[in-house]
Structures are given as structure tokens and as C-alpha cells.
Amino acid sequence: MSAQKFYDERILVLEDIWKRFPGVVALKGVSLSVRRGEILGLVGENGAGKSTLLKIVFGIYKPDKGRIIWKSRETSIENPIQALNMGIFYVPQELLLPPNISVAEAIAIGVEFHRNWQLVKYRDIENKAKEILSKLGLANLDPRTKIRNLTAAEKQLILIARALVMKAELLIFDEPTSSLSISETQRFLNLMLELKKSGIAQIFVSHRIEEVLTVSDKIVVLRDGYKVAEFDNTEKKVTLDEVIKAMIAKDIKEFYPKVKVEIGDVVLEVQNLETETLHDISFNVRRGEILGIFGLLGSGIYNIPKAIVGLQKKLRGRIIVDGKDIEIFSPTEAVRKYGVLYIPEDRRNLGLFSILPVKHNITISSLDLLAVEKVLNMINSVKESTVVSKLIKALNIIPPDPSRKVAYLSGGNQQKVLISRAFSRPLKVVFLSEPTVGIDVGAKVEVRRLMVDMARQGLGVILISSDYNEILGMSDRVIILSRGRKVSELRREEATPDILLKYASR
């Protein structure tokens, strides 16, 4: 087989794939192909159909219509096990590995033990693991380390090691860099290029379009279940603008729709806050102001609201709301008594009730106001429905169905449901922790617009983010944290990306 032929062979071809779910058509006749040694970038807003497409390739869903051609033979992929046997390996966004087994075992499970009764030859699997890990640049990781002691980046490499052991020919990465630091991301992208050299085909799905642009040979853009564009990135470099334009139907004039809002008096003041991870943090926020809190991973920024609303133990420090010294023991008190709401960063685990309907998710923090106290706290359903339908409309939650379970919404719409809580009752201060993580470009702008709306209503808005562009674009004032300490406070005019990163990485 000549080198030319080797690189030209299409390993996977999808033709006219359709997939329908109750109430929504997720894929509308999508066709694409991947060659050996090619990296295919797959981008699109949330709900565009990327995940559905990946799941079809990995055998989790079956397409309603369309052909799947694997190595020039038409096949149907019935389940993930079949996909693995065929040589397709899926690295999910959330890396689920049993925490109490060793690295060597994690790599060997299901690969080395061909027969169920075979005894584990630890020395063999450890040597094998070592060999593969050193190929992936993890030579000094002891194969006997337990999975729970690994970082997200290392876990990802373990999964890739598994894929190599299983002789995977097509690797699918679903948002692989979302939990990696900047240097880890760089290393990961280099690894992708290495894998490409050994002839492995890869599909790369990410919201970080710049990353997709740096490594992909081909970029396919999905929107609303249609394939709207395919770019060849090998000859001429595709630009970010081209891709974004294809991704979003309407032109987004302002990525950061910041509006000047009149700033009032101080509504929340925190003095010398001290917890196990935070040291001597002081700041204040005024009505109508957006205060940005910036810090890199591990800086402790996410712990600030937790300590203030009573989710984490506070060792010292004063909290002053509206000039009154207060003590908050629980989030219930924070919301009901003092009007301080925390909208958490981890939408799935800390934010939403995915098995409950949209309506219940929106009003969960305001039921005390919607209930008729005299009758067993009965909820005034007329009032509730009015509030809910108003918010669904105002926040443009799609589909606008209050009884749909949140699990069936796209990421961006889930985030809007979560944020709608801030509008469901009168408040004074809102903490928004990473409000735009993992959602598409269009939804990001919508969420940022909502942030401005909150400020306009006279709330003190505290935006906690590790995305410096967002902090710079939205905040009136920025405080920067590093290793649990406040290292700087800047006005909007003074802040630049360089200064932010310089302080944050101290």
C-alpha cells in the first residue's frame, strides 16, 4: 500500500443521517467522512446535533435513516461494544473510570483479560501500561497509582492509552479540553497530532473553536441538525470568523453586550473573609455594578460564593448587606432573608434538577413567595404559571414548554433555566459562577445580556469566571485571586488581558 493510498482511504463515511427524538429532529441528512490519519473538527452551537452524531457513530443511538460505511463496507453499529470491536473509541466529556483501581488495571480491563477466568498477571499489565504511558509522555507515572489520585488530564491520557491498547482506528473526543489547564491543553493538542501521524483517524468536538482550528484537517459545521459548512483546513487556514459565521444564523454584533448602567450605593460588602481555602478576602459590590472575580484553576474563586451563602465553613470575616452586619447560615437564609442568590458553576451537579420539569427548576428558589401560607403552603399555580411563562419568553428558553424535563434541553437552554432563578424573585445580590461555560456562542451572548439586565434592575452582580475575555468584556471592576488571596483590584479601564493573567498566575 503506497503512502498516498494510505492517507486517502476513507475509514468512516456517513451518508444522509437522520435522527428524530420526541419533539425535535436532531439530525437532518448529515453526511461526512473521515480518512485515516485525519483530524475532523466538528463544531456547532449546543443542540446543533454534534453529540447525537457522535452517539450514532459509537452505537449508542441508531439513525432513523442513512448509511454508515466503515472501511468501505456498509454496516450498522448496534451498540458500543460492537463499535469498540470495530475499532471506534469514544472519549467522553466526563471521564468515568472506577476510582479505586490502578492505572495498569484501568488500561488492561477488557483488553488483556480475554477470558473471564484468566488470572491477572500484574507484572505483565504493569509493564505494558508503562510502555504505553511512556509513549504518551507519562513515563514517570507509576502504573500502580490509583485512578482517584489522577488529574483530569491524566485520566484522559489513560483513556487514550486504552484506545491504543485496543488498537482503535477512530478516536472520538467530545470536548476533551474543557477541564484542562492551558499547558495541558497544549500538550493534548500535540498528542492529537502524534496520533494522527500513526494513522489514527480522529473526530474532535469542542466549543473552543481556536483549538479546533489549530489541529483539524477538516472542519464540519452543524447547525439545527443540518451540515451547513465544511472547511478544508490543510491548504489554506480557515479563520475563526468564517467558522463562527457558519455556526450562528444571525450575525452577533456584540459578543459582550455591555451597557452602561447607573451605579448606586454599596449593596454587599465582604471584609477579611477567611475559610480553609480563602485568605483575607475583602471586596464590595454596588447596585447596578458587575464585579468580576477572576482567577485560574485552583485560585479559589469558586469558593467565595459558597462561603458567603453558607455552603462552606467560614472561619472569620464580616458580611454586610445594605449596611447591616449579617450572619448567613444557609443558602435558604441567604435567598429568603437577605436576597443573596448563588448560581453555581456546575450546572449538572449543583445547579439543576434534570429529572424535574422546567417550571419546577425555575421557581425552586422562590416558592416561599408563591405559596399561600394558610393552606399548607399551597403553591398559587396561576401566579406560578404567569411567572414561568413570562421568564421562558423573556429568556427565550427553547422549547418554550414549562413541563418538559430539563434533561431534554440543550446546554444553553439549561443554563438559561438556571439563570432564570435570579429573575424569579426580588434580590439584592447575585453570584454568577461561570455562567457561560459549555454553552454555545449564541447562548453565551444571551446569558451575558441577562447579566446586564440584572444590573439594570439594580442588583449587585458578581461574575466569577476563569475566562478573562468574559471578565474584561462584562465587568465594571475586577478583583483577581491567586492561591486563595486577593492579589489585585482593577477598574474596567485599567484591566487588560496581560495584566489579568500576570496577577492571576502569581
Binding site: R20, V335, L352, F353, L376
Partner: protein
């Protein structure tokens, strides 16, 4: 195109194509229908084998025992919805039957007062469970401390019921004192009242919403400002109060208190819920599911006697029902991605 929910699922059916898979999907989506089908077909099937099963008197006897199991299952549903578990309801019902009968026969207390006092016993036990669970819950899912605390009570309450009366039952000689409970419809009336009240709480009140929120995602409920401790305590108190009621319903049936009258029925209560759609993982199902499940379970227990199987085999049927219930619940959760 405006479409209601039913149509949406039917459009999915067209896509899936196979009718067989469809029925499975429908049953999994609305477990009430599945349970109703099971009830109807069992009723017909057992009756074909033994015509006396269709006798209205059989149905009445079945309904009177069902009143007890149903009340237990309704209480249990509260503990299950918050993602907890109450293993003590059988023992508590037994102890309540003893206390109720003792108060009337030995202490000569007026039956209304005895009723209230027994209910208070349930409330106190529930408060104790709620206290333990909320005290030790934070780093754990609720089911872990709930399992341990209520398992302890399972033995503690049964031990008291046997120990205090030295294993003897307490007979009520003057049935007229408990004429309401002893009447054929007494238990059913209580069951209906409790069912309506529970449905109202679960569907239309703030505390009902909080129950589902806690069971759906405990951490998210905490962040959203749900008063977790109060709601968890409420759920356990409700469960225990229902257990005490069930104990008194049984007294009405046999005119005595027995220390093992409801022994092991916590498993029937759990099976009733899980069979008919109250998820063991929390956050799903309501009182209607619990009642349908309880009726199915009661019918199976009565039905085996009509099939000529000795009543001594009832524990075996209970075990089969429980395992079946867990399988049904797991299948449902796996299908909807909540395993």
C-alpha cells in the same frame, strides 16, 4: 405544528417502527398503565382458576388488607421520593397496633384519645429518624443514614412490641369501642383521606416541590435554598405517621394488637412503590403509583391462597415481588439514563 404530549410520543413511535418496543416504552414511561394492566390480568387469571376470587366478599376482604398496605406504601413513598428509605414502617405499624390496643383495653383510654396518642408515637419515631438523617447526612446520599437509622428502628420497635407484652397479643373485647375502624369501610376511608392529602401535598404545595427537588438532586437543592433539614424531617415524620395509622387499621381488622401483625411489611411497602413507578433513586413517582402498587401487591398475596398455595408461602411471594420491583425500577431508570 401544535401537538400535545401524547402525539409527540406517537411521532416517536413511527420512527422506532417496531410496535413491540413501543409497548415497552409506553409501560416504562407511564408505569401506572403497566400496573393497571397487571392488576386487571391477574384479577381475571386468578378468577379463572378459582371462581370464588371474583366474589364481591373476596374483594372486600382484599380491600380491607389493602387499606393497611396502601397506607404503609403511601408513607413509604414520601421517604423514597426524597431519595431516602424507611425500613421501620412494618415494625412501627406492629408496635402501634399493640399500643393502640393496650391503651383501649388495659388503660381504658377513650378510643379517640388512643388514636391520637398512637399517631403521636408515629410522629415521635419519625422525628427521631429525621433527626438522625439530617444530622449525619451532609457528605452522604440520604439513603445511607436512612438505611442505618431505620434498620435500627426495625429491630428496636419490634423488640419493644414483643418485649413489653412478653410476646402476648392484646385483645380488644369491646369491639364497639373501635366501631369505625372495625367497620368494613373504616380502613378504606382512612386510606382515601390519606391518599388525597398526600396527593395534595406532593402536587400542589411548596413542601411537595422540595421533596422532589431533594430526591432529584440533593446538592442542587441545597444550593437553590431548599430548607433541606425541615423537608427531610417532614418526610420521615409523614412516613412514620402513616405506619402508625396502618397499625391501627390492622387492629380494626383483627380486634387485637399483634407484635408481628405487620412484620416484614416494610418490604411490601417498598416493593409496591418500586413496582408502580416511585423510583428507588428518588425524585420520581407519587401517591397514585404507590396505591396502585400496593393494590397489586395485596392482590398477589390474597391471590395465591385462591390458587391453592398455602399462606405459609407468603414470605416467598413477598421476596419475589421485591426483587421483581427492583428489576422493574432499574430497567426504567436505565432506559431513561438515570441508573
Amino acid at each position: 405544528m401544535p401537538r400535545n404530549r401524547g402525539n409527540k410520543s406517537s411521532s416517536e413511535k413511527e420512527v422506532v417502527g417496531a410496535i413491540k418496543l413501543d409497548i415497552k416504552g409506553l409501560l416504562l414511561r407511564s408505569p401506572e398503565i403497566g400496573t393497571l394492566i397487571a392488576i386487571t390480568s391477574l384479577y381475571i387469571a386468578i378468577g379463572i382458576v378459582n371462581f370464588r376470587f371474583w366474589d364481591p366478599m373476596t374483594l372486600l376482604t382484599l380491600a380491607r388488607w389493602f387499606a393497611g398496605i396502601g397506607t404503609l406504601a403511601i408513607g413509604e413513598s414520601m421517604a423514597l421520593i426524597i431519595g431516602g428509605l424507611d425500613l421501620s414502617v412494618g415494625s412501627l405499624a406492629s408496635l402501634s397496633s399493640m399500643v393502640f390496643a393496650h391503651l383501649i383495653t388495659n388503660a381504658g383510654v377513650d378510643s379517640t384519645l388512643a388514636f391520637i396518642a398512637t399517631l403521636c408515637l408515629g410522629v415521635v419515631v419519625g422525628l427521631y429518624h429525621g433527626f438522625i438523617v439530617t444530622r449525619f447526612s451532609p457528605p452522604l446520599p440520604i439513603s445511607v443514614p436512612a438505611f442505618v437509622a431505620t434498620l435500627g428502628s426495625l429491630f428496636l420497635l419490634r423488640g419493644i412490641a414483643i418485649g413489653y407484652w412478653k410476646g402476648y397479643p392484646v385483645k380488644i373485647y369491646d369491639i364497639s369501642k373501635i366501631s369505625f375502624l372495625a367497620s368494613p369501610y373504616g380502613g378504606i376511608v382512612i386510606l382515601v383521606i390519606i391518599a388525597v392529602l398526600t396527593l395534595f401535598i406532593q402536587r400542589y404545595t411548596a413542601i411537595g416541590r422540595y421533596l422532589y427537588a431533594i430526591g432529584g438532586n440533593l446538592e442542587a437543592a441545597r444550593v437553590a435554598g431548599v430548607p433541606i433539614r425541615n423537608v427531610v424531617v417532614f418526610a420521615f415524620v409523614y412516613s412514620s405517621a402513616c405506619a402508625s395509622l396502618a397499625g391501627m387499621i390492622y387492629v380494626g381488622l383483627v380486634a387485637s394488637g399483634y407484635a408481628d401483625i405487620a412484620a416484614g411489611q416494610e418490604l411490601l411497602a417498598i416493593a409496591s412503590n418500586a413496582l408502580a413507578g416511585v423510583s428507588l433513586a428518588g425524585g420520581e413517582g407519587n401517591v397514585i403509583n404507590a396505591i396502585l402498587g400496593a393494590f397489586l401487591v395485596s392482590m398477589v398475596r390474597t391471590g395465591i391462597i385462591f390458587l391453592g398455595i398455602s399462606a405459609y408461602w407468603q414470605d416467598v411471594t413477598a421476596a419475589i415481588l421485591l426483587v421483581l420491583a427492583v428489576i422493574v425500577d432499574l430497567t426504567r431508570r436505565v432506559t431513561f439514563g438515570r441508573a
